[in-house]
């Protein structure tokens, strides 16, 4: 038997694309946020509200990742924003190569923020860097308050956490969704995580989210 030491990163091919994506985005002074959550947590509704309410102030483009259909891209396009749909045809996450192809179709000079709406999945998308400035986790109250404990990867890596559908908090009840537990568990995994309590339906809590986005844009343009 002969042993050969290698010591190489297995995902280096993906990471090379991610690095190139990050370079292109930095050159164009675009902030890129990778939105990750379960299916149905409200990512698309958060984005359509955000685009509509920041229209004329912050230029937003969206890369939509779905297993199939362009339903989400159409919802984004209805706001007037540009959306590039990626259909993964079964794959449960986006790769940096797919994002690279989508970025080449966006007029980045006109954009301040590129949102990547990843495939709805709490596990797989967190393992692949796409070249983003940060991951944004979305958790809706109907999913239960044990998600940071059960799916730590996303919450440990995310820059921000949007706890969505807080308008349903009373119906779901404190015993099934203790918002204090979510805040505490997320902060144990990630003491710098920014947490926003929002309702994409009513607009509650969005002012703080917009402040954070504006600060992120300012930081990127200034650098």
């Amino acid at each position: 038997m002969k042993k050969v030491e290698v010591g190489k990163k297995i995902l280096s091919a993906n990471e090379e694309y991610a690095f190139k994506n990050a370079q292109i985005l930095a050159e164009k002074k675009c902030v890129c946020l990778n939105m990750i959550s379960s299916p149905g947590s409200g990512k698309t509704t958060i984005l359509t509200r955000t685009i509509n309410e920041l229209k004329g102030k912050i230029g937003i483009g969206v890369i939509e990742g779905d297993v199939q259909t362009d339903i989400d891209a159409e919802k984004i396009r209805a706001t007037g924003a540009v959306a590039i749909q990626i259909n993964t045809r079964g794959a449960c996450h986006l790769s940096a190569k797919q994002v690279s192809d989508a970025l080449s179709q966006l007029a980045l000079d006109d954009l301040d923020i590129v949102f990547i709406e990843n495939v709805g999945n709490l596990v797989c998308p967190s393992a692949f860097e796409l070249g983003e400035n940060g991951k944004v986790a979305v958790l809706s109250v109907a999913e239960g308050d044990d998600k940071p404990a059960k799916y730590p990867a996303l919450f440990a890596k995310a820059k921000a956490l949007l706890i969505n559908k807080i308008d349903l908090l009373d119906s779901v009840g404190q015993e099934d969704f203790n918002i204090g537990r979510v805040n505490a568990d997320a902060r144990k995994l990630n003491k710098n995580i920014e947490i926003f309590h929002v309702s994409a339906k009513t607009g509650a809590g969005f002012a703080e989210w917009y402040d954070w986005l504006a600060k992120s844009v300012k930081k990127t343009v200034g650098s």
Partner: protein
Amino acid sequence: MHEAMVAQSLLASISAEVANQEAKPISAKISCGVLYAINDELLCFAFDAIAKGTPCEGIELQIEHKPMKSRCNVCEHVFEFELSKLVCTNCGSEDCELLPDSPLLLEEIEFDSE
């Protein structure tokens, strides 16, 4: 099932090394942090399927999972992370932070020397 893409990248990484050797590869050791959420059975299944018919066919994967670790900000003690009781195992302080996850690495490949 993100193991499919990991398996593809792993096959490419191992193939690049195997091309430099004349001996037959027997096994490969890889290591990964907990946050990569790698399921051994799924990764081995995916790897076996795509390695079929290549020089990497039949390689046995040995997967080492590296635990998440925390560091105490008071006494700098490093210990295994546990969400349910996040206190320093040395001084009892609650001022601890999670350290970066271990990368997904191809550590070594074992070849048949005959």
